[in-house]
Subunit: 274 residues, 2 copies
């Protein structure tokens, strides 16, 4: 794995970094083909928005692209991670007025997920953890991810690929590392992420792609009963692309789906995307 | 500042540490006098509990004490920070079965807070941020502290020393870096921290000390109207000790208190504590 810290080859950060002390920063996971990030338009837009939400100085786009290319040099298909923190901190939560962000770019070879996850669909479970509600952080891909860690640690069964997370009102929000879409009668529904959850770049891409597919798009609340009645469920993130859900294990049993046509269409469209 | 990482002098941690990636870890702030941590019994108990709550392997107590003493060597009065993370991670939220925690101990000279904060009391404000509710993380001094960062960044006025944080139900939970107590008719009230907030070591010490002061102790919900009617408000943490609140600025104006006798008694008792 190649790592650049503020542009310099290094795999160490200061023990006083606010990213470590408080999780005071953001990150993005990006796939690169021959050094070129996929879906960059959506990745960059999300990164800019997340920086603005946390009053974090945003890095220069050209600089970041150059660092991604440098970290992934010689790797045909790479997974890169960009982490931006509020930099060094002394004691105290207040954001330093003169904060100098730390910029961490790592890249390593990426072989993709097993083909069966796309052909046969994935199995998901309902997580016990209920996501908390914080509108000021909702949507941001920030470094405070203990809820995801706890939720993902609820199961060890390798035949379960993801876990769905619900909020206090009983609405589904997302999965532990992916966003969720539900198709019903030609309408693609996805949870609104204004109180919890992470807005993935692929989620943003998919929302933009929906009109061209002849579907309607709707963001809103989604209860479990609506998931069970859906024609198809999809999970998305920048590395996954689109996984069709084959089985959903919940308190009342297991629901199954067999029509993965929309996921296949979306993945084909995604493959054609620059 | 002296820093030990896993016992070795260093001020750098791996860029792949899960403490940085996810805030997957805990910390404690400890005052040391000639290398001996104050209130260690309460600090250690909280640390053990927090490790258990997050399934984080707990370090050896004697080892940690030796590292604290080594980091603070030659410093008469030091502030130390212990950070424990789940160690190196690869991609993915799941807790590695073979996680080797990272142990960071830093120490630096500590001059204490200005004497007026004890003699004249402090000024606090009501924060706009509403704390989210997550029983699985409540009470733990974990590294997911973006809510504290955002709340503390609501004000820059140096005459305001702390900000009170409320939950969705309108109950006060804590302040941005301290716990809150309210005295009323010989009963000391403090918010229950089972849905949000951080259980400070000094909070635990104070709860243990209350019976000897001839007061009753009650943990429960505390609304703003009850704060305004209190005979005294106190803020506590391991570095502060006990600050009496002189003024509380809220939407309806400013409430003031002048009787700081309980804070003074508690600080005297604290000074006598080993």
């Amino acid at each position: 794995m190649a790592t650049l810290i503020d542009g310099h080859p290094s795999d160490k950060v200061s023990a006083l970094d606010r990213g470590l002390a408080y999780g005071d920063g953001i990150y993005r996971t990006v796939e690169l083909l021959n050094g070129v990030p996929r879906l960059w338009r959506w990745q960059w837009q999300r990164l800019v928005e997340d920086c603005a939400r946390l009053s974090l100085p945003c890095p220069d786009e050209a600089l970041l692209l150059a660092e991604l290319a440098a970290a992934a040099q010689g790797i045909e298909r790479a997974v890169a991670k960009i982490t931006l923190t509020r930099g060094l901190g002394q004691r105290g939560y207040a954001m330093p007025a003169d904060a100098v962000p730390t910029r961490i770019v790592t890249a390593s070879p990426w072989g993709g997920y097993p083909a069966e996850r796309y052909s046969d669909g994935v199995t998901v479970r309902r997580c016990d953890l209920t996501l908390s509600r914080q509108p000021l952080l909702a949507g941001i891909k920030h470094l405070n991810r203990l809820e995801n860690v706890l939720a993902r640690s609820e199961w060890a069964d390798p035949s379960v690929h993801e876990g769905l997370l619900f909020d206090e009102d009983g609405g589904v929000v997302e999965a532990t590392m992916s966003n969720l879409f539900a198709l019903k009668d030609g309408v693609l529904y996805t949870p609104r992420l204004d109180r919890a959850g992470v807005t993935g770049a692929l989620r943003a891409w998919l929302i933009d792609a929906v009109p061209a597919l002849g579907l309607a798009m709707k963001e809103g609340s989604l209860a479990e009963v609506e998931l069970l009645a859906a024609d198809a469920l999809l999970l998305t993130n920048s590395l996954i692309g689109v996984w069709p859900v084959a089985a959903y294990r919940h308190a009342g049993g297991e629901a199954r789906w067999r029509d993965f046509e929309l996921a296949h269409r979306l993945n084909a469209r995604l493959a054609a995307e620059a």
